[in-house]
């Protein structure tokens, strides 16, 4: 009988405690501060404007741009196809389906990359995947895609190809007019806007 009394006198108070205490509804963070710092240092979350411009021109359906600035700023200017999720309402239930998904590649952007990085860190800690940040934000976007700087005449050809691509992309996405950068000794003047600088692909193993 004694064992039964001991059991009851342990279990019942524990039950009373658990009944009296509110449920723990906090969401634990997935990464420790160190792990998150490592990821931030690696800068794997950044996507270069060139890649975004390329995806926009190709009308890549997997790209989902997310503007984390305020609604007023979003209405004034936004990238094509972007949706507005102001950072204040990042955790609202209506946006969860956009942020926590496995299909699209979400790219956060703000004027610089600060707010976008904050949004990325929060979603990363919630365990959401496929979220990225536009490198340098809209400022860098304008600098590279909308008003690309003409490379020096002595630059290697890759620089000119990149410049031409950016110029074309900028024009296609609503920037300045096309002014071919290629110097006179280069044969074709104006590249069509959709031309893509081909990335060198390594030969994948034969077997």
């Amino acid at each position: 009988m004694k064992a039964r009394l001991i059991l009851a006198s342990v279990i019942v108070p524990l039950g009373l405690i658990i009944a009296a205490i509110p449920e723990n509804t906090t969401k634990p963070y997935r990464l420790t501060a160190d792990q998150l710092l490592d990821e931030v240092k690696e800068e794997l979350q950044f996507v270069h404007p060139d890649q975004i411009a390329d995806m926009l021109i190709q009308k890549d359906p997997t790209l989902q741009l997310i503007d984390v600035r305020s609604r007023a700023e979003f209405e004034k200017f936004s990238l094509p196809g972007a949706i507005n999720v102001p950072i204040e309402s990042l955790l609202d239930a209506e946006y969860t389906d956009y942020l926590n998904q496995d299909v699209k590649m979400n790219v956060f952007y703000s004027n610089s990359s600060n707010k976008a990085n904050q949004a990325w860190m929060i979603t990363r800690q919630l365990g959401y995947r496929n979220n990225y940040v536009l490198q340098g934000g809209l400022n860098y976007w304008v600098e590279t895609i909308m008003n690309p700087e003409m490379p020096a005449q002595t630059s290697p050809n890759e620089e000119f190809a990149k410049y031409d691509f950016r110029k074309g992309a900028g024009a296609a996405l609503g920037g300045g007019a096309i002014v071919p950068a290629t110097s006179t000794q280069e044969a074709p003047a104006a590249l069509p806007p959709v031309t893509k600088t081909k990335k060198k692909k390594r030969v994948q193993g034969g077997c």
Partner: protein, 201 residues
Amino acid sequence: MGPLIVNEIISPNTNFLIAFFIGIAFGFILEQNGFSSSRRLAGMFYGYDTTVLKVFFTAAITGGLALLFMSLFGWIDLSYIYINPTFLWSAIGGGVIMGAGFIMGGYCPGTSFCAAAIGKIDALAFIGGIFIGIFAFAEGYPLWESFYKAEFMGSPLLSDWLGLSRGVLMLLIILVALAMFWVGEWAEKKFARKDYTINQR
């Protein structure tokens, strides 16, 4: 922090290893509680031995309390705990078949392996029956598929259904369990059998 697998703290292979050891411990404890005796198991239905009720409810209370406290301390995220989905009719049908088999055979599936491990012939016959049942179910699946999948209810929780918090429900279960233990021990005396002496104090 927990669950360990979901948060990738341990790999699925480590998980199998841990499951292996937990399985051995489970079997050992069943055997130590005399669950390899079909008379003890059947005693539950006749009232002369309610060890089954006491052991399983103690385990459920311990597990439930531990999960709630671990959640309170932030050691486990309860939203990642897998909850078996409920198909109402197959749950009822399965319960009836299992209960009938339990009374007639004197084992439930887990304890039959436990008893077979200590060499009981009737347990081997019981296991043979399990495999025949599995085979018949699998081969005749199209016949009872509609029954099997009827009344899908998702993963309902008793606490949500009653509108109680998990903690209050846990307290209720503890009180109900202690009351059942008390009734069970009363029944053991009331329905005691002269030819049955395991655990009769």
